[in-house]
């Protein structure tokens, strides 16, 4: 890629990234652990600030863990999101059509192709994944 590389994290993407990391690991994480999980590219204070902001907005819970707090993502209140979303997806083609899905269905051949790609990329499964 030539030219100036844009900022790697556009303003506003940080909270989503930190929350996604908490969800991905699935156990309470200290800011230090979150920082490590995100590849150590973010400053500790940035991670700390972001977690505090998420806590203020009610997106994460925290409890004392030694000298720091450990953070866990808050489950969607009463599963509103899950059930409403389910309804939406079951409600015919047009609703599906307005949702831009990350990926769609695969043929058996496609599956083989993509598995090979991931093997070449090093490790079919992400380390530490469930």
């Amino acid at each position: 890629m030539t030219g100036e590389r844009p900022a790697r994290r556009p303003a506003g993407g940080l909270e989503a990234e930190v929350l996604a990391a908490l969800w991905a690991i699935g156990r309470p994480l200290t800011p230090r652990e979150v920082q490590r999980e995100l590849g150590g590219e973010l400053a500790y204070t940035t991670v700390m600030t972001t977690l505090t902001r998420l806590h203020d907005k009610g997106a994460v819970d925290r409890q004392r863990s030694g000298r720091a707090y450990a953070y866990t993502p808050v489950l969607d209140q009463a599963g509103i999101a899950a059930s409403r979303m389910r309804e939406m997806l079951d409600d015919g083609q047009d609703r599906r059509a307005v949702l831009a899905h990350f990926v769609d269905s695969l043929s058996a051949q496609d599956e083989r192709l993509l598995s090979e790609l991931l093997r070449d990329a090093g490790g079919g499964e992400r380390e530490g994944s469930a």
Partner: protein, 302 residues
């Protein structure tokens, strides 16, 4: 001459539909998305216009309408560019196209209204990221003000940190560039003119590619976006197609990400714009000729 002008917009729509898949594959995705959605709308409008013109001449020939409009139905019939059978077919096609367009507009409008309402009820923290337990949810952008990004927890767990960043950047791109409006526009155009159906499918692919390229910029690594896509597809790939149009697109998208970034192709884009302009000019000429026809019929009635 008038016949050619009446036929050209329909031929242009057919040609645009035929070359739509090539545009989605060859052009830089942002350009492809815009060209496909705007072009399909223009082609659909021009096609609808000529069908309406053909039908209006047929209607104008009817004695009661001719009396009301103070023109000579006989004079109109004598100079009609197409015979009555084609006129009737044009009229029926125009009515069917309008009905189909209205139907799709209503359905799409309702669906978008539903996503906007749902967004209002979902938590807005964390840049609108909503995580759900259902693995079948996969990941998608939910249009709204502001929109939400919905991701299945098992999918997040299967991705590395850079891959999660790629996924979030991809969905954010859909919302930021309002891809749902492009897709709605091209769906409407395809409902009005089925010759444009390939453009609908192609625009869907182009919008995904656009978001992929934005994710590549955001992560600085095209390969990470490709592996995120592959992992997500393998995890959620077992379910039936959400949109038949998007099926099999993942390997193409992965291949595009593993290749160099797309280069602009002003020649190809220019040729397609020219094609569309030819259709638009023909529709304008046909409108002009039909107006002249009615003027002559009016003069004949005096």
């Amino acid at each position: 001459m008038t016949r050619v002008a009446l036929l050209l917009p329909l031929l242009v729509a057919a040609g645009f539909g035929l070359c739509a898949p090539v545009l989605a594959r060859r052009l830089p995705p942002r350009q492809a998305t815009w060209l496909l959605s705007a072009g399909a709308v223009l082609a659909a409008l021009c096609g609808l216009a000529v069908l309406g013109l053909v039908g209006s001449v047929l209607l104008g020939e009817q004695p009661s309408i001719a009396r009301e409009g103070h023109w000579s139905g006989a004079a109109l019939r004598a100079r009609a560019p197409v015979d009555a059978v084609i006129g009737a077919a044009g009229l029926a096609a125009a009515a069917a196209a309008l009905a189909a367009g209205l139907h799709v507009a209503l359905r799409r409008g309702r669906a978008l209204l539903a996503t906007h309402r749902l967004c209002r009820d979902l938590p807005a923290a964390a840049d609108g990221l909503v995580v759900v337990a259902d693995p079948a949810a996969g990941a998608y952008a939910l249009p709204g003000r502001p929109g939400r990004i919905v991701v299945a927890q098992p999918l997040l767990a299967a991705l590395s940190a850079p891959e999660r960043r790629a996924l979030l950047a991809h969905e954010r791109a859909h919302l930021r560039h309002r891809h749902h409006w492009h897709l709605a526009a091209v769906a409407l155009a395809a409902a009005v003119n089925p010759l444009l159906l390939p453009a609908r499918r192609a625009a869907g692919h182009a919008a995904e590619r656009w978001a992929d390229e934005e994710a590549a910029l955001a992560t600085g690594d095209r390969r990470v976006v490709a592996t995120a896509l592959a992992r997500a597809a393998l995890l959620t790939g077992g379910r039936p197609p959400a949109l038949s149009a998007a099926a099999h697109a993942v390997p193409l998208r992965v291949a595009a990400l593993l290749a160099a970034p797309p280069r602009p192709r002003p020649g190809l884009a220019g040729a397609v714009v020219l094609l569309l302009l030819v259709g638009a000019c023909a529709a304008a000429v046909a409108t002009e000729h039909t107006e002249d026809l009615f003027d002559l019929a009016r003069a004949a009635a005096r």
